[in-house]
C-alpha cells in the first residue's frame, strides 16, 4: 500500500515534466506529421484537405530542389562539424596545458557561443563584404589580393564561407565539453608513457583520444543535429544563393512555408529531415559501437 502511495506520489512529481515534454515536443511533432499530409496551402481552398503521401512523393521523386538541398545540407553539416571539432580540440588541448592566462583564454574562446545567431550573421556579413569588409581590407592592405574576394558572391567560395561562420559559432560548446573530458584523462598514464619513450603524437593517439572518444561522439552528434537544422546563418548571409549553392533543407523549408505558403509541403520536408537525422544518428552510433567493441 505504502509502495503504491509512493509510486503515485512519484508519478505526480514527474507529471509537470511529462506534461511539458508532451506539450513542447510531442504535440508539435504530431502536428507536423498531420500538417505534412494536408494541403495547407494559402492559395488553395480547404487548407486542411488530406492529401496523403502527395508531399512526400513530390519531395522524393519530383522536386530536384529537395535532393540538391539535402546534398548541400550534408556538406554543410560535415564541413561545420569537422571544422568545429578540429578547432575545438586544438584549443582545448592548448588550454589544457599549463600556460599563462589560461582562464582568460577559456573565457575568450567561449565568446562566440554567447553571440546570438542573427548578430553572428550580420557580423560576418560585414567581415565578408566586398566593398567595406574587414577581411578584404586586410588582404588588400597586405597586397595579397588586388580586387576584393567575393566570399559570399562567388559560387565556389560561398559554401566554405558560410561553413566558416558555422564553425565559429559551433566550436565553443565543443571546446568546453572536450576540455572537461581532457581534464579527466589520468596524468599518470601520460607520465608512464613518457617514461616508456612515447612522443606527444603517440600519447595523443593512444591515451588522450581513446579517453575522449565517447565525449567526442556525443558532441559531434549533437553538433551535427544542430547544424543540420540550422537556418539563420545561411538565410541571413546568402539567402541560399549565389545561384542556390548554399540552399539547404532548412532554408528550402522556410521558403516553402513562409513565402511559398505551402505549409503542408514544408512540414513534409521537416519530417524527411527528421528521418534523415534519425538514420544518420543510428548509423553513427552503430559505427561507434562496432569500433568500441
Amino acid at each position: 500500500m505504502l509502495l503504491k502511495r509512493r509510486t503515485r506520489i512519484a508519478y505526480f512529481m514527474i507529471l509537470p515534466s511529462v506534461a511539458m515534454i508532451t506539450l513542447l515536443t510531442l504535440v508539435p511533432l504530431l502536428e507536423g506529421l498531420i500538417v505534412s499530409v494536408q494541403s495547407q496551402d494559402m492559395g488553395r481552398p480547404n487548407p486542411t484537405r488530406f492529401v496523403g503521401w502527395e508531399h512526400y512523393i513530390r519531395a522524393l521523386f519530383e522536386d530536384d530542389d529537395f535532393w540538391s538541398s539535402l546534398r548541400r545540407t550534408i556538406i554543410w553539416t560535415i564541413g561545420s562539424v569537422a571544422g568545429a571539432y578540429c578547432l575545438a580540440l586544438s584549443l582545448a588541448l592548448l588550454v589544457n596545458i599549463d600556460i599563462q592566462g589560461r582562464k582568460f583564454f577559456r573565457a575568450l574562446f567561449l565568446l562566440p557561443w554567447v553571440v546570438p545567431e542573427v548578430s553572428t550573421a550580420l557580423l560576418w556579413k560585414w567581415l565578408y563584404g566586398d566593398e567595406f569588409g574587414i577581411l578584404n581590407f586586410i588582404l588588400k592592405s597586405l597586397g595579397i589580393v588586388s580586387s576584393p574576394v567575393l566570399w559570399l558572391a562567388d559560387p565556389n567560395l560561398a559554401m566554405p564561407s558560410v561553413i566558416a561562420v558555422q564553425i565559429w559559432k559551433l566550436y565553443p560548446v565543443m571546446f568546453i565539453v572536450l576540455l572537461a573530458a581532457l581534464q579527466n584523462v589520468p596524468k599518470e598514464l601520460h607520465e608512464a608513457a613518457i617514461i616508456d619513450g612515447a612522443n606527444s603524437r603517440q600519447r595523443f593517439w593512444y591515451i588522450t583520444l581513446p579517453f575522449i572518444r565517447g565525449t567526442s561522439v556525443i558532441t559531434t552528434l549533437l553538433a551535427s543535429i544542430w547544424s543540420f537544422q540550422n537556418f539563420d546563418i545561411i538565410y541571413l548571409l546568402t539567402g541560399g544563393g549565389p545561384a542556390g549553392v548554399t540552399k539547404v533543407l532548412a532554408t528550402l523549408m522556410y521558403q516553402k512555408a513562409f513565402w511559398g505558403s505551402e505549409m503542408g509541403y514544408a512540414a513534409a520536408i521537416g519530417v524527411l529531415m527528421l528521418v534523415v537525422l534519425l538514420l544518420l544518428s543510428i548509423a553513427y552510433l552503430f559505427a561507434y559501437k562496432v569500433q568500441k567493441d
Binding site: 562567388d154 560561398a158 546568402t238 512555408a257
Partner: protein, 443 residues
Amino acid sequence: MIFKNTTISRRTTIIAGLAGLFSLGSSGVNAQGQTALTFWTVRLNTPELAEALRGILAEFQKAYPSIKITHEPVSGGLVYPKFLAAVRGQTMPDVAEAYSYHPLQFAAMDQMEPMDDIIAHWKSNGTLDNIFNEYAYKKFFWKGRYWGVPYNLDIRPIYYRKDLLDAKGIKPPKNWAEFQSAAIATHNPSAGNFGAVFPAGDFHISQHFFMSFMLQAGGGILDKDGNLIFGTKAKEANIRALTFLTDLATKHKVTPPGIAAYNTDDAHTIFVQGRATFGFGTGGVISRIMKENPSLFDKVGILDVLEGPGGPTSRLSAGFYNPMFIWKHSPAKEAAKTFIKWFIQSGRLEPLYRTTPGQHWPIFKADVASPRVKGNRLLEEALTKVVPFTTDFAYPGFGRPEMGIIDGEKLFAAPVNEVVVGTKTPEKAVMDAHAKMARLFTT
C-alpha cells in the same frame, strides 16, 4: 408583477449570464455596447509607424465611439503561420493590412469578404479617379469580385547623382540606351564610384527591379486574361530585360563586384554613401539619405521611368499596392467597412508617411499637393515621375493568388542571381523560372 412568483435559481442566473456574454462576444459587441474590431497590421509595426498608427486609430475612435478597435501587430516573418493558424481556428482578424497578394490567397481559401461595395462607393464619390493607377485596385479583382482594397504603395525607383552626371555633361537618362551609356561613362572605381548598384542576391526585394525592366521590354508574366506567358509569348522580351540588367554587372562591369550577395540594404548603403551614380532602391532610400548623409540630398534625383524596347506605352515600374481586407466570417463586417472607408482617404495617413519619408507611399493623386511632399523634393519627384507609372507585376493581367507565391518564392530573384554569377544564360534562367511558375499555375 408577472415575475413576482418566479424562482430564478443560481444555475439559471449563471447560464443566462454566460449566454449574454457569449451573445455579446459572437455579435462583435463588447460589454460597453461597442462593436469590437480586431485590426492586424503587418507592415506598420516599426516603433515610429506604430506610434503614428496609434494616433490615427485614436482619431477614428473619436469619430466612431461605437466601434472599438484593437490593434495587433503581426511580425512579417510570421505572416503565413499566423494567418493560417487563424484560418484553421477561425480566429481571423475582422480587418487587416498585409502583403500584396494576401487577400487573393485568402479568397482562394474562401475566407474573404468581397469589397465590391467599397469599390462601388469609391466610384460614386470620385475616389477611384483620385487613385494613381487603376491596377492599384484591379489587382485585387479575381473571379469577378474585389477581395481587397489598396491603402498604400511600395515603389522601386532608380536614384541618380545629378552632380556626377553634370560633371560628364550627361542629362538624366530617359531610356535604356541612355541609362547604359551614362552608367558606363560615370563608372570610375579608382575614384570609388560605381556606374550603378542594384541588389542581385537571392533575396526577396532583389527581384523587383527585374520586374520593372521586364515590363519596359514589353514582357511580363501574365497576359490580360491572366494566363502565364513568362517563358512563352513574353519570353524574348523577358530575356532581353534580364540581359540588359545583368549586363551591367557581367559585360560592362559597372557595378560593385559582389552584388550577387547583395540584399536591398547593401545596395542602398553603397548609394547613400555616395559611391554610385545610379542606385536601384525602395522608397526608403530617401529616409536613409536624410538621416545618414544629408549632404547628399541636393545631389540626388529620381529618374523618370525608363523607356525600353516596349516603347512609350511600356514605361512602367513594378510596385506593390498594399491591401486591406475583411474576414468573411467577421461578426462586425459593416463596422470593418466603415473603418476601411474612414482609414483610406486622401491625407488620412499623413502621420504614417511623415515618420519615415519614402518608406510608404500614398495611393491618391491629391497627396502630391500635401505640404509634406511640397517640402521634400525627392518625395515630389517620386510621386510625379514614378508613382503614376507604377503598376503591379501581374500587369496587364489582374490579380491571381499564385502571384503571391511567385513573389514569395523569389522566382525572379534566382534568374538575376544565376546570370550575374554566370551559372546560367539569361535564356536558361528565364525558362527554368517559367517551369517553376508553370507548376504553380497547373497544380
